[in-house]
């Protein structure tokens, strides 16, 4: 109610009030391109973005051309040559089955870089849908769905993952599904908040005043305006997805052998570090860390650019 009250009045001097000033742009359709170009320029000037892009880029290359880059077949076991320390022959040493760790780390990027984005994308799609609906139709729908979301959120991610993996049997598809299920509520929350502030805007009322049906208002009118938060949320979630997938693999419920998945490699070898066999653990660990950090730098850069 309050938001429809008396003139907010701030708009009168909005243009030169000291919170970061925006120009009142005069007419000229090409201005849109200009703004977009300026955004891009800003992105390219942000060091964090560049750094993130480079790291992520590297892993993407590995994911695609891994088998070409890899000095060795990441799957070829050679038990006799097990656990050889890093040497010129094997820069990162070999694992318990005598496989080349370097090759496995390089190729290992593939699974996670397929699974994580897919899962996050799915989660973002479902979460956005849920967020739109709960944010727009308040009342019963919102309440009941809200409760459900709470219920899901009340269980730690790993546990939900664990249960579903045990229930559905470990497989890449399951991983994607699980991550999606687990992240949907979180994203839904963010989107819902964004939607709540959108419906305050009168363009929504205006849409109703020309007899628009709810679906159009949701997807046609509101959705485009909450894409910003959604994008940022996606990049952030991507980081967490990698986190969760790795954890599931580490618990033996994620990506399955013989896939050279990083979390899996750590799971299979972390008991060995005590025996001085640190290489089959450390390198995958570093790989995960670098990828995650890369993604975060990227998302940070993006959100910076759009905040400005």
């Amino acid at each position: 109610m309050s938001s429809f009250g008396e003139p907010i009045g701030s708009s009168v001097t909005a243009a030169d009030s000291p919170a970061v000033a925006e120009p009142t742009v005069g007419p000229g359709p090409d201005e849109a391109k200009v703004i977009r170009r300026e955004h891009l320029a800003l992105l390219l000037r942000s060091k964090t973005f560049i750094a993130g892009a480079l790291i992520l880029g590297f892993w993407i290359v590995c994911a695609i051309f891994g088998n070409l880059i890899a000095p060795d077949d990441p799957l070829r076991t050679n038990p006799v040559a097990a656990l050889q320390a890093p040497s010129s022959a094997h820069l990162f040493g070999t694992d318990t089955l005598g496989r080349d760790v370097l090759s496995r780390v390089l190729v290992g990027a593939r699974d996670i870089l397929i699974v994580a984005p897919l899962a996050t994308l799915l989660a973002t799609a479902m979460g956005t849908l849920l967020g739109l609906v709960t944010g727009y139709f308040r009342g019963f729908v919102d309440d009941s769905l809200g409760r459900l979301i709470d219920a899901i959120l009340a269980v730690p991610v790993v546990i939900v993952g664990l249960l579903s993996m045990v229930a559905l049997g470990p497989s890449t598809v399951t991983v994607i599904f699980v991550i999606a299920v687990v992240f949907t509520p979180v994203i839904a929350r963010t989107v819902r908040a964004a939607v709540l502030s959108e419906v305050q805007y009168e363009y929504v009322a205006a849409a109703r005043l020309r007899n628009e049906r709810a679906p159009y208002i949701l997807f046609g009118e509101i959705l485009p305006n909450v894409m910003g938060p959604v994008l940022v949320e996606f990049t952030v979630r991507l980081g967490y997805a990698i986190f969760t997938i790795a954890t599931l693999s580490f618990l033996g419920f994620g990506i399955q052998p013989p896939a050279p998945d990083w979390g899996l490699q750590i799971y299979q070898h972390y008991g060995l570090i005590s025996g001085g066999y640190w290489w089959p653990v450390l390198f995958p660990a570093l790989a995960i860390a670098s990828l995650v950090i890369g993604v975060n730098l990227l998302s940070d850069g993006i959100s910076q650019a759009f905040e400005r």
Partner: protein, 317 residues
């Protein structure tokens, strides 16, 4: 105020009920036969059927659900089919273990996180900010087991200054227990820091840009005073809520850490229960974790509204 609490409690209960349904029927789809799981693959079928009857795991799902719920109302969490001991005797000690770890971690990370977040906010966009927020976020999203493994490698095995497991020998004193918990707690600190810092940062930036901060500056208050008196007061409120929501993760989300450090926390209980198809433990444990989470968030909301006059008075007037 009381209205508010009552409302939140009511909602909490509904959520709990939903959770119980989710959990129960969720666990029912887990494959594998309970008695078979207990007796092992090579036990004779007759033995298995006998045990299933004895455990009541041959009844229909709904009957089992009702039994479970009625049990809960009588404070009976059920009996572990794996260890044949009462679930409470397994879950509550584990809960206490996890709590100890969580508390230690909190004591370290909350001040650190807030400090970091506020610093980042004050230097928004500069290097320090990027360092803290990106570094923090990364530390957060690097899986905790990666940290655990690295820390054990360094502190327990190379330097040999800290124990590699978290369970202190029975009857050991307070300090010894702390000593054993330091490493896992450290992992948690790494995992939580970025998260809390991020929130503190957001809140601080928001109130730094608020009009009332401008007023304070224009009053001529020294910058420190402005930050201390006017900014933090408002900016740290949201952080409280966030910290609380982490309780859920801390109690039960730590499977990996607890496994690596062989710590008998609720996380490991859940993990083993899942592996062993120990439904009673699994269901009750998950539910309890849920309760912890909801209570924590409720408390957070209360604290939030108590510290925040806007809510305090609106609900009272």
């Amino acid at each position: 105020m009381t209205r508010f609490i009552a409302k939140r409690l009511g909602l909490g209960l509904i959520t709990l009920w939903l959770l119980s349904v989710l959990v129960f029927f969720g666990t029912q789809v887990l494959p594998g036969d309970v008695a078979r799981r207990i007796l092992g693959p090579f036990a004779s079928p007759s033995a298995v059927t006998a045990l299933n009857k004895q455990l009541g795991t041959d009844k229909s799902v709904f009957v089992q659900y009702l039994n479970w719920i009625t049990g809960l109302f009588h404070g009976d969490l059920g009996t572990s089919v794996a260890t044949r001991t009462s679930v409470s005797s397994i879950v509550f000690p584990a809960l206490w273990h996890s709590a100890k770890l969580a508390i230690l971690a909190f004591i370290i990370v909350v001040p650190l996180g807030i400090l970091g977040g506020v610093l980042a906010a004050l230097y928004e966009g500069r290097f320090r900010d990027r360092l803290i927020s990106v570094g923090g976020l990364s530390a957060t999203t690097v899986p905790e087991f990666v940290w655990s493994v690295v820390f054990i490698l360094v502190f327990a095995l190379w330097l040999g200054i800290l124990p590699s497991t978290a369970t202190a020998p029975p009857g050991s004193g307070f300090l010894t227990q702390i000593e054993y918990l330091v490493l896992p707690a450290l992992c948690l600190v790494f995992v939580l820091f970025g998260y809390i810092a991020r929130m503190a940062r957001a809140g601080t930036i928001e109130s730094l840009e608020a009009d009332y901060t401008r007023t304070a500056v224009i009053k001529g208050l020294p910058y420190r005073t402005v930050v201390r008196r006017h900014v933090l007061r408002n900016s740290l409120l949201p952080t409280i809520a966030v910290v609380a929501t982490q309780a859920g993760y801390l109690i039960g989300g730590l499977v990996a850490i607890e496994l690596v450090f062989n710590y008998q926390g609720i996380g490991q209980v859940l993990y083993r229960a899942a592996i062993q198809k120990d439904f009673p433990v699994l269901q009750s444990a998950v539910l309890i974790v849920g309760v912890v989470y909801l209570v924590a968030t409720l408390l957070a909301d209360l604290a939030y509204s108590l510290l925040n006059p806007r809510i305090r008075f609106e609900s009272s007037s």
